[in-house]
């Protein structure tokens, strides 16, 4: 991998994002295998909307979840059929809904009754019936379920406590077909117990909805919440063990006559692509200031906000960071603050990172950069050019590399 990164840095420049398609494909296949095809796989485009990746994902997964008209355009450009898309988001604007309905989007995931009314009107105006999924906001979510979005006041979904009234209203709306339920209430969870408990909660709530509202849904979407080990000291959860515990939960759900033929979908984002991406940056200058070694790099928070600790974290923690092409007997390590080129002290990729001795021109790699990287960063701040995005693939034993950048200095 190191030599691939060096070649890419040489050919395409730095900083850059490098995505290893083989790893993404392997992850998709692992999910399919371990759940014995009982789940269809839907990828949350917001994790990484790169059209080159979306195109390549078509061979490996079943559906995409989009959260804007822009993401829908990416998906269509990548060759996805609109019927394979679901559209979530708490603030879908009328023009986005019109665009989605006229495109023939698969499912609109309604997050409120007023939104459903709007979809109903638009579908009527278009002379069509629109399939919808109802997003449910569970009352209870297991402790440790990552960034916890449930049980609290929320802009997402219809609160479990309000479902009776909501379904009564939804059933009266013309031009809509309620085709299923959708739950997404947590992300970035590494705790297998919490993940299993979440499946159980989803199944119970789905079952209650079927019972109370006499709606036999063809589609049940489970937001997986599967996390990846960003930080040194974190461990990935064991997917095989997790699946072994989830199968009996699914068995119970699907033995209900009304749910026997339900299509279960697993919605996941960073779990598919996060670990397959590396952010590569070059050391421009090394400075020692008041006893601290500072390596100033050509990549920073404008390219990778999450690594700098500003994307939803309160306490900065270093990503897994390495020196590219470090010699094997690198006993000669030192502690560095890794910073970007911006004129702000919050542009810090790493605090007190232990690395082999660095020189100007050395390459640094940050793991777990395949999701919520470039497009989740303030790329226009201070007007530097955006990093390139490069995909590495293997075919017939040979490695190929392609520039799939879609962000230019003007737009993304």
């Amino acid at each position: 991998m190191n030599s691939t990164l060096v070649d890419i840095a040489q050919s395409f420049g730095t900083p850059c994002y490098v995505y290893f398609m083989e790893d993404i494909a392997a992850r998709c296949e692992a999910l399919r295998q371990v759940f014995a095809q009982r789940f269809q796989i839907s990828y949350a485009v917001k994790a990484n909307p790169n059209v080159g990746l979306l195109q390549r994902l078509r061979a490996h997964i079943d559906a995409l979840d989009i959260s804007s008209a822009g993401e829908m355009q990416h998906a269509l450009r990548a060759g996805w059929q609109p019927q394979c898309l679901s559209f979530t988001g708490p603030g879908k604007r009328t023009q986005e809904l019109v665009a989605a309905v006229t495109q023939g989007i698969g499912h609109i995931v309604v997050e409120s009754v007023p939104e459903a009314r709007t979809v109903s009107q638009i579908a009527g105006a278009c002379g069509t019936q629109q399939d919808i999924l109802v997003r449910l906001a569970p009352r209870h979510i297991p402790r440790g379920f990552g960034l916890n979005m449930a049980g609290k006041p929320s802009q997402f979904g219809i609160d479990e406590e309000d479902l009776d009234g909501a379904f009564a209203a939804l059933k009266t709306l013309p031009n809509l077909r309620i085709r299923g339920y959708h739950i997404y209430s947590g992300t970035q969870c590494l705790d297998a117990d919490a993940l299993v408990e979440h499946f159980e909660i989803c199944c119970e709530l789905f079952r209650q909805c079927v019972t109370r509202h006499a709606l036999t849904p063809p589609v049940l979407v489970f937001g997986s919440g599967f996390g990846i080990p960003y930080y040194p000291g974190q461990e990935a959860f064991d997917l095989g063990h997790l699946a072994a515990r989830v199968h009996p939960v699914l068995d119970v759900l699907l033995q209900d006559d009304r749910l026997r033929h339900a299509v279960c979908m697993l919605e996941t984002g960073r779990y598919l692509v996060g670990e397959a991406g590396i952010f590569v940056t070059r050391v421009i200058r090394i400075k020692v200031s008041r006893g601290t070694r500072i390596a100033i790099c050509d990549g920073g928070m404008h390219h990778h906000l999450a690594a700098c600790g500003h994307l939803g974290t309160v306490v900065h923690r270093n990503y897994r960071i390495f020196k590219v092409n470090a010699s094997v007997d690198a006993d000669d390590t030192a502690t560095y603050d890794l910073v970007g080129p911006l004129c702000t002290p919050i542009d810090t990729l790493g605090h007190a990172v232990e690395l082999p001795a660095l020189d100007e021109g050395d390459l640094i790699g940050l793991h777990c950069s395949g999701a919520y990287g470039l497009t989740a960063s303030p790329m226009h701040f201070i007007s530097h050019p955006p990093p390139k995005e490069i995909v590495v693939e293997s075919a017939r034993g040979r490695s190929s590399v392609e520039d799939i950048s879609q962000c230019t200095a003007g737009a993304c």
């Binding site: 960034l147 939803g312 309160v314 306490v315």
Partner: protein, 81 residues
């Protein structure tokens, strides 16, 4: 005078963050172990400010200062000195 002591902090972590008393010691890493997430951290900082009578600046919010009971108490003590 505001005082943030070990007892108050333990009680807060139990009552407000739902941590079972047997699950954490003074040196248990609260945040980096996943016992407390980002949202909870914000609430914890507010509690420390209100009870300890200290102002927590964004640059202070590091694992060194906040990742365990003993570190929090040391931080507050240094601030009050």
């Amino acid at each position: 005078m505001m005082v943030l002591d070990r007892e108050k902090l333990r009680r807060y972590l139990h009552e407000k963050q739902g941590l079972a008393p047997e699950d954490f010691e003074d040196d248990t890493l609260l945040f980096s172990s996943g016992l407390i997430d980002s949202f909870s951290m914000v609430d914890l900082i507010m509690f420390i400010e209100d009870t300890g009578g200290v102002r927590v600046h964004p640059a202070d919010v590091t694992l060194d200062n906040f990742d365990s009971i003993e570190r929090i108490l040391a931080f507050v003590e240094a601030r009050c000195a």
